[in-house]
């Protein structure tokens, strides 16, 4: 259900008049510190409970991961990766969910007006009433997050608990975290917090610690502190995520060009009709049919 209280900044398949820009809200963000996550899955459960999602059966993958990937009924998943780094064993755990991009590929690709919206505070939400279940959002998303539900015929993903955020509460996953590796606040505040943590990690010998806030999608409203910031792929994160060029091309170039071509063709045939008129057989009588062209 989309929020009734938050102003919309941009909306899928809408050309103009998406938001008034009247109310200014700061961008909000989740803060995820992968270095202090213990993989307890409290956030997974809290997400399921708060959002009233159906039970999804867990799978034994031979690791500490609940299931292979996100699901239409499972919007928050701790990804687990076991690695040997410089002779030391490392358990990398990262909370995977919608990244709430500033420039959301799902919203760009979506053909249904208002099915995907971005609120003034940066949260990217879905509106099932408008969703037509085409699945194009999955093609547009560089993080492989939106999931189509065969049960509902709709797409589903993390809403950043917009229903909690709009009344001043933090998202359910943040609320449940026992180690304090999750925080929620304005994006500026979370970036400052992340900066401090990165400095701490560097002091502790993680020279490549960094904040993951990819600029290719205009930054995200979920920022992630990575102890091994030079290897986001170890955490299952793309090095430089981008909205697919094909989606941008189809929406920003092909669509206007196609409209020009179609309306141009209609104008062209009207022009031809006015300039040349209908081609009729010449009047009966001797003489080559060619003569009609000269009149």
């Amino acid at each position: 259900m989309p929020s009734q209280n938050l102003e919309i900044r941009q909306s899928s398949a809408s050309l103009r008049g998406q938001g008034s820009g009247l109310r200014h809200l700061p961008n909000v963000s989740k803060y995820i510190d992968t270095s202090t996550c213990i993989g307890c899955k409290a956030c997974e459960v809290a997400c399921q409970e708060w959002n009233d999602l159906r039970v999804v059966h867990t799978q034994q993958l031979g690791s500490y991961q609940t299931m292979p990937s996100l699901d239409a009924d499972f919007w928050n998943l701790i990804k687990f990766n076991e690695l040997e780094i410089d002779g030391n064993l490392a358990w990398l755990m990262r909370k995977d969910q919608c990244m709430h991009c500033s420039d959301p590929g799902c919203l760009r690709a979506c053909p249904a007006p208002g099915a995907i919206v971005q609120y003034e505070n940066g949260i990217v939400d879905v509106n099932p009433e408008q969703c037509i279940g085409c699945g194009l959002c999955e093609t547009g998303c560089p993080f492989d997050v939106p999931r189509f539900s065969a049960k509902t015929g709709k797409m589903a993903k993390c809403t950043l608990c917009v229903d909690r955020v709009e009344v001043g509460l933090e998202p359910a996953c943040i609320k449940s975290c026992p180690t304090g590796c999750l925080h929620f606040g304005t994006k500026d505040a979370m970036l400052a917090l992340a900066g401090e943590r990165v400095d701490q990690l560097k002091g502790n010998g993680f020279a490549n610690a960094a904040v993951y806030d990819p600029s290719g999608v205009g930054g995200t409203s979920v920022i992630t502190v990575l102890a091994h910031g030079d290897h986001p792929e170890w955490y299952g994160l793309a090095r430089d995520p981008q909205v697919p060029a094909s989606v941008r091309f189809a929406r920003s170039i092909l669509r206007p060009l196609g409209l020009i071509a179609i309306f141009g063709a209609i104008a062209g045939v009207f022009g031809h009709f006015m300039g040349f008129g209908p081609k009729r057989p010449p009047p009966e009588g001797p003489g080559p049919p060619k003569s009609s062209a000269k009149t």
Partner: protein, 239 residues
């Protein structure tokens, strides 16, 4: 003609047009009075089936393509209905196009001089500057349109299947299909606009060839001189 006495038709005699239409159920390329049967019933049924499915696919597809045509979705009960209906209509459209392709492909064999229609000849034709006396039942432009439709139907089908079941295909195929479906349909739409115009307003007498199936001899002599000579056995006025 010179007889001034009122002409009373014999009982059971038909108007030539009615006779032409009855014969046109099974035959084409024959003259009946002043008319020539151009498209027999089967050809016309195939053509209009393809046209019907094309427009259903167009009107269910355009609102998904751009919100500018969002109002079209209301004709079918909303965008979600369009998303459901569009692929099924598309399958019917492809089936019709495939039937049409095999129905007409023999007559559409490209002759060496047909390729010239891609060049300045097309403009000479459109500007009424030159009539080619060697144009048979179909001119080069019509043949090129025919093959454009065949290729286009295949293009929208292949990309459409991927878009229909996006989760069954790789990211690369999904992205390619998104672009291919748009490109094919845009070319299709432009070609069909020209096709409809040339078949109606631009060339009076042409539309009837697809409705009642007949054209006048004068029409045939102007637009398809060689076909006219073949069908009537007459010499066209020119040559």
């Amino acid at each position: 003609m010179a007889d001034l006495a009122p002409q009373i038709p014999a009982p059971g005699a038909l108007h030539p047009l009615n006779e032409a239409m009855i014969r046109g159920r099974h035959t084409e390329n024959v003259t009946v009075g002043e008319e020539i049967i151009r498209h027999r019933l089967l050809s016309r049924v195939i053509h209009w089936s393809v046209a019907l499915f094309f427009f259903l696919a167009l009107f269910t597809g355009l609102p998904i393509w751009t919100p500018i045509f969002g109002w079209m979705a209301h004709l079918f009960g909303g965008l979600a209905v369009c998303r459901w209906l569009h692929p099924w209509v598309g399958i019917l459209f492809f089936a019709g196009s495939a039937a049409m392709f095999f129905h007409w492909v023999k007559e559409m064999k490209l002759q060496p001089n047909d390729r010239a229609w891609l060049g300045p000849k097309l403009w000479k034709y459109l500007s009424y500057a030159e009539e080619d006396p060697e144009v048979g039942k179909y001119n080069g432009g019509q043949k090129l349109f025919f093959f454009t439709v065949g290729l286009g139907a295949l293009g929208v089908l292949l990309s459409g299947v991927v878009l229909w079941f996006p989760l069954s295909f790789s990211q690369l195929l999904r992205e390619l299909s998104l672009v291919l479906h748009d490109v094919t349909f845009i070319l299709f739409a432009v070609a069909v606009i020209a096709h409809i115009y040339l078949g109606t307003a631009a060339e009076p007498g042409t539309f009837e060839s697809m409705t009642r199936g007949t054209v006048s001899k004068r029409w045939a002599r102007l637009h398809h001189p060689r076909w006219y000579r073949e069908v009537t056995g007459e010499e066209s006025r020119r040559r």
